[in-house]
């Protein structure tokens, strides 16, 4: 081990210890109560628990299946056709996951809800709650994600393949069977695992669109057990199940995790040297138009209903202030954890160390927020701090939830900077604070900003932590929107959603600009 890697591993100690502490404090009560009381009280074979587990698996599997099945033709269409507005449309496809979940859900309700646009159009009220609504929302989030990931994979096809296909006069079928499908197939298990993971751990969608106990998932079940029934034993049993489920899928999909927040690399469609029949062209155009409408209309609904909405300024301004007061320290904390981890990972003396470090950042995906929250909540209650500690718990939880994405943004730049400068710094004796000020900060200014902004925008839109720990005295913008939706003040909710969407978009646009130059 060289001196540099020793130093980096040492510097990664505090963040690793903090993450470990957060997880242990979260898991210890869960394990103790869950295994102890859960087994004794029989909660573990409770039909309620089994029903929730079944529903979680069912909705996640169906969501994954539908999203992927639809994403394959959409990705193929985007890969095959170059048209004006293609890159704009692909940017639109990044919005559902980039915007705060609660904002997007409001858009979906505005279009598909009981009094929504579609109901008005066909003249009979639609029911968007329950399994249908959850599936609709999950497909809305994950169809564009899957499309982007599959398209990225299709972009990897060697240009020579298309020249060869033209030379050998391949039919469309042969092109698909011999070139596109083999290329796409490789990434299907990973993409499927990622979507399954996102749907199994999905909180906001199930909380808002799930209709009562018949349509509840583990993640939301934990929240209900904690905040409504105050039944820690049941919460811990649910948490244990969720832990096993998510742990399994993170191992399968972890490498794709950071793709969730990445903007698509906007490559033009490849030159394919092919002629298409009129029917085939029409079919491709139709696929693109349908997909664009599916994603675009609810986004449009957010803007339109927001502009026409009522704005409850006193509540809005206080929630905005709370949101910023939480998101700022959360993103700072996230960066303080991510930077040393990225440095240690770049200088790790061996591959095993590197995977261990990367795993530590993914830990917050393996241990779902609701599970951690269960433990933290129980620990804080025992210490009599359940309410006074709430803001800090929300900040810490947001920082941990943003960590995989902050690290994913920062790590490649840090690795590159280390590779370029480590030896030169060592030979010139530039180290410590001097190196930080003279070299690292100027060089990494942009990726550090990107990473912090990413954590900030994620924290700004978070509904999970604030719902688990929030109260009447602690209301962020997403919590306000959720409360307004819950009391059927959809107009007010639309106004709040527009404000939150504008904040998020401003930061995302900034991110986009920096990202292009970084």
């Amino acid at each position: 081990m060289t001196t540099a890697s020793k130093g980096a591993m040492l510097a990664a100690g505090p963040p690793l210890a903090a993450i470990l502490l957060a997880v242990v404090v979260g898991l210890a009560p869960v394990a103790a109560i869950g295994i102890g009381e859960g087994l004794i009280t029989g909660h573990i074979v409770d039909t309620y628990v089994l029903r929730i587990l079944w529903f979680t698996l069912l909705q996640a599997s169906l969501s994954t299946l539908i999203s992927l099945t639809l994403a394959i033709p959409v990705a193929l269409a985007f890969a095959r056709v170059d048209f004006p507005g293609r890159s704009l449309l692909l940017r639109l496809f990044a919005l559902p996951l980039a915007l705060p979940a609660i904002v997007v859900i409001l858009g979906i309700v505005t279009v598909y809800g009981r009094t929504g646009w579609l109901s008005t159009l066909i003249g009979s009220p639609l029911n968007v709650y329950g399994l249908t609504g959850i599936l609709l929302a999950h497909v809305f989030f994950n169809l564009p994600l899957a499309t982007r990931l599959l398209l990225q994979q299709l972009d990897g096809i060697q240009p020579e393949s298309w020249r060869l296909a033209a030379q050998l006069d391949f039919t469309q079928m042969a092109r698909f069977r011999l070139i596109e499908w083999p290329q796409m197939r490789v990434s299907l298990p990973g993409v499927a695992s990622l979507i399954f993971l996102l749907c199994a751990a999905s909180f906001a969608v199930v909380l808002t669109l799930g209709g009562g106990p018949s349509a509840t998932t583990l993640e939301v079940g934990i929240y209900q057990a904690l905040r409504f029934d105050y039944d820690p034993a049941r919460a811990t049993v649910l948490a244990l199940l969720q832990l096993v489920l998510c742990g399994l899928f993170v191992l399968l999909a972890g490498q794709y995790a950071h793709a969730v927040q990445n903007w698509p690399s906007l490559k033009r469609a490849q030159q394919r040297y092919e002629t298409r029949s009129a029917g085939a062209s029409l079919a491709l155009a139709l696929i693109i138009i349908l997909a664009g409408a599916f994603v675009g209309i609810p986004i449009l609904a957010i803007v339109l209903s927001g502009v026409l909405a009522q704005f409850n300024w006193p509540a809005l301004s206080s929630a905005t202030l709370t949101s910023f007061l939480i998101a700022l320290p959360a993103s700072a904390l996230s960066l303080a954890l991510a930077w040393p981890l990225a440095q240690a990972s770049a200088r790790a003396p061996s591959r095993h160390w590197r995977s261990l470090l990367n795993l530590s950042a993914l830990l917050t995906l393996i241990v779902p927020p609701a599970v951690l929250a269960t433990g933290w909540f129980i620990a804080a209650s025992r210490a009599g701090l359940a309410f006074s500690a709430a803001p800090f718990l929300v900040i810490a939880m947001n920082a941990l939830m943003a960590l995989p994405f902050a690290l994913g943004t920062l790590a490649p730049s840090v690795q590159q900077a280390m590779a370029q400068h480590d030896r030169l710094c060592a030979s010139l004796g530039i180290s410590g604070l001097q190196r930080l000020i003279l070299i690292d900060l100027p060089v990494l200014r942009r990726p550090l900003g990107l990473s912090a902004a990413m954590a900030f925008v994620l924290s700004l839109g978070d509904l999970t932590a604030i719902t688990l720990f929030g109260s009447q005295n602690l209301v962020t913008l997403p919590a306000l929107i959720y409360a307004q939706m819950g009391s059927y003040r959809i107009d007010a909710a639309a106004g709040s959603a527009l404000i939150l969407a504008l904040f998020s978009m401003a930061i995302i646009t900034l991110l986009d600009k920096w990202g292009a130059r970084a």
């Binding site: 060289t2 001196t3 400068h421 030896r423 030169l424 030979s427 010139l428 004796g429 001097q434 060089v443």
Partner: protein
């Protein structure tokens, strides 16, 4: 001078053993196929790679355990010899003071080093705004400023064309004669060795198979590895 005393190095399944001495003021080239350990050899001397056993004597002092910045040497890398966000003057000045606290005499010496390497007019440019050859001159200017008795060059001119390479070698040779530096040059090109080095080491698979006057080494026909390399 450089003396490697029964050095043994291991990383994963690559091993290397070195045992030789280079006198003060000598210009030595190191040639050999890629993966033979040429760069590792320089990294060991510079302190970037740690050895399992043996002793490293530099300029008469045992430097086996010394950190890279305290060893009496300057190393010029194949690339990344500069910080892209700092101008050439600052990049060179870092050679005397990592804190960039320079007195008037030191400032003058930075200017002199830039002048000597033909970079004076470019002093306020960033490395990205000058040519590849000029970027490598920054490293030479820095070496001149540091004035350490040992100069290690790890294929620093590999990306340059033949004429420019020769010009850079001339510059290094000039400095070496004038200051009596001990120079070790790792190169892909046997031409570089015969142009600049009095002695040359031929490396294969982590071992020095021959270490003798350059012209004599390049004429040898009894080493199959050398035959394969030169072709």
């Amino acid at each position: 001078m450089i003396r490697l005393d029964h050095i043994h190095f291991r990383y994963d399944d690559f091993t290397a053993d070195f045992n030789f001495e280079i006198a003060r003021g000598e210009f030595v080239a190191v040639i050999g196929p890629s993966g033979s350990g040429k760069s590792t050899l320089l990294s060991i001397i510079a302190g970037f790679d740690s050895i399992q056993s043996g002793r490293i004597i530099l300029d008469g002092k045992d430097m086996t355990e010394a950190s890279p910045s305290t060893r009496p040497l300057t190393m010029v890398f194949q690339d990344n010899n500069t910080f892209a966000h700092l101008d050439l003057w600052t990049n060179v000045a870092l050679g005397i003071s990592p804190a960039l606290k320079l007195d008037a005499a030191e400032r003058q010496s930075v200017d002199d080093a830039l002048e000597r390497t033909g970079l004076k007019a470019l002093a306020r440019r960033k490395p990205g705004e000058v040519s590849g050859g000029e970027r490598q001159r920054i490293a030479i200017a820095r070496a001149l400023l540091r004035d350490e008795p040992i100069l290690l060059l790890d294929e620093p001119f590999a990306a340059l064309g033949p004429a420019l390479r020769r010009e850079m070698l001339d510059l290094v040779k000039e400095l070496q004669r004038e200051k009596s530096y001990t120079v070790m040059l790792v190169s892909h090109h046997p031409d570089d060795a015969s142009y600049a080095a009095t002695r040359t080491a031929f490396l294969s698979n982590g071992r020095i198979l021959a270490f003798e006057p350059t012209q004599q080494l390049l004429k040898r026909r009894d080493l199959p590895e050398l035959e394969d390399y030169i072709g």
